[in-house]
Symmetry: C2
């Protein structure tokens, strides 16, 4: 879905923001950047701030009108924090990303307005809906490139779907291995008179609860048992 997404920056003042937006796009695998009447572009500041997103910046298309930026798009949304006299349908970035994924095969444009005054009414009304990033009611004013980052982030999360599985370097312990360790531990605690088998209290329950919470892997079990054997060599032989 990411190749169907276009980021459109309208009359951006600061070239640094254009570069930072390009970097933000790159980090989330977006590539289609269109600039409507940028104040200063190209500019060294853009390239400096783009860092590893230089290719996105170099591929940016500069146009004179919003129409040129969105003519071939099927769905156009505006990012906006402004309340308007005639309300427009509003989505959160997450709901927008869900909707964008569902619109298979559609070219989708996301508009970002001027640093100081956002998008004007004509531009806002050219959009099917508005995306508002919920934030501090007293100061919801994200920097332009930050807003691009948040929207791009949400799109990427929808693109990859479920979070990647946990990467681990050792297989998890089986129940047998886990119980072997706990039994070993208990024996050592009894041998050392830490635990009175006649009146054990909650000690083993609490230790069990502790170790179940950490999802021990086989190396960790072996290590812990190594420690126990070290501390109580006789018990290690018996288990």
């Amino acid at each position: 879905m990411l190749d169907r997404m276009r980021i459109v920056l309208v009359e951006t003042s600061h070239p640094g923001n254009i570069g930072a937006a390009a970097r933000a796009m790159k980090t989330m695998s977006l590539t289609d950047l269109v600039l409507v009447r940028p104040k200063r572009f190209p500019d060294p500041q853009s390239f400096w701030r783009a860092a590893g997103g230089t290719d996105v910046l170099e591929g940016a298309r500069v146009v004179e009108t919003l129409e040129e930026a969105i003519n071939d798009c099927h769905w156009v949304v505006a990012t906006s924090a402004r309340l308007r006299r005639i309300p427009w349908p509003v989505l959160t970035p997450q709901a927008f990303a869900d909707a964008a994924r569902a619109r298979e095969g559609q070219k989708i444009a996301v508009l970002f307005g001027r640093e100081d005054k956002g998008l004007n009414n004509d531009e806002l009304q050219a959009c099917h809906c508005h995306v508002e990033i919920p934030g501090n009611p007293e100061y919801p004013v994200l920097n332009l490139a930050m807003a691009v980052q948040v929207v791009a982030y949400e799109l990427y999360q929808r693109h990859i779907g479920e979070p990647p599985p946990l990467v681990w370097d050792r297989p998890p312990a089986t129940t047998t291995e886990f119980e072997g360790f706990l039994g070993h531990l208990e024996s050592v605690l009894v041998n050392s008179a830490f635990l009175n088998p006649g009146s054990p209290g909650q000690t083993m329950t609490r230790l069990r609860r502790l170790f179940t919470r950490v999802d021990l892997d086989i190396t960790e079990v072996a290590m812990l048992r190594g420690v126990l054997t070290q501390l109580d060599p006789g018990e290690g032989d018996r288990n």
Copy 2:
């Protein structure tokens, strides 16, 4: 939950990034910023980039060691994009925000490392888990303040819970009002010979489907019927 969250920036090089991070925090109602050995602070660049987040920047605490930054915290996480030899538990920003909300009453620190080389192994291992922002495998390198923005954004979304309800300026049309309009429309189409009542085809079904999709409000219904009456004054009288 937001007042339990602390953002910790470790050995930040660029004062602009500190300011941008403060602004990002402010937009998401975070206020507790700690700087561990910043390279240049205070610095005019920080204040310029902080924009409306100046109060967060002014309230920032500068410390010499990571320990001072996190000693009073119950849960400490590190943001990181690096693969390490010994993997640590990893959360997405969303899963982290869920966990942070669940840890009622706990003070929680989120560590962000150096612009060029992140956090070192000692710092990473001081953390209970790592938060990784999923991104472009070829270039997952978010700017420091961008990473702060994404994490702060996720925390704020968990804080507010469900998205706010749709704001609209007019009550929705009732079924009676909606059907009144559709009936009016059909009459006008028949009168104008656009629709042949003997062989209507799918026209009305398609128009019905169109108008059901837009959730008409009462002003829109009145407007549309005004248009129909204008185009076919006789029919307006009859309905």
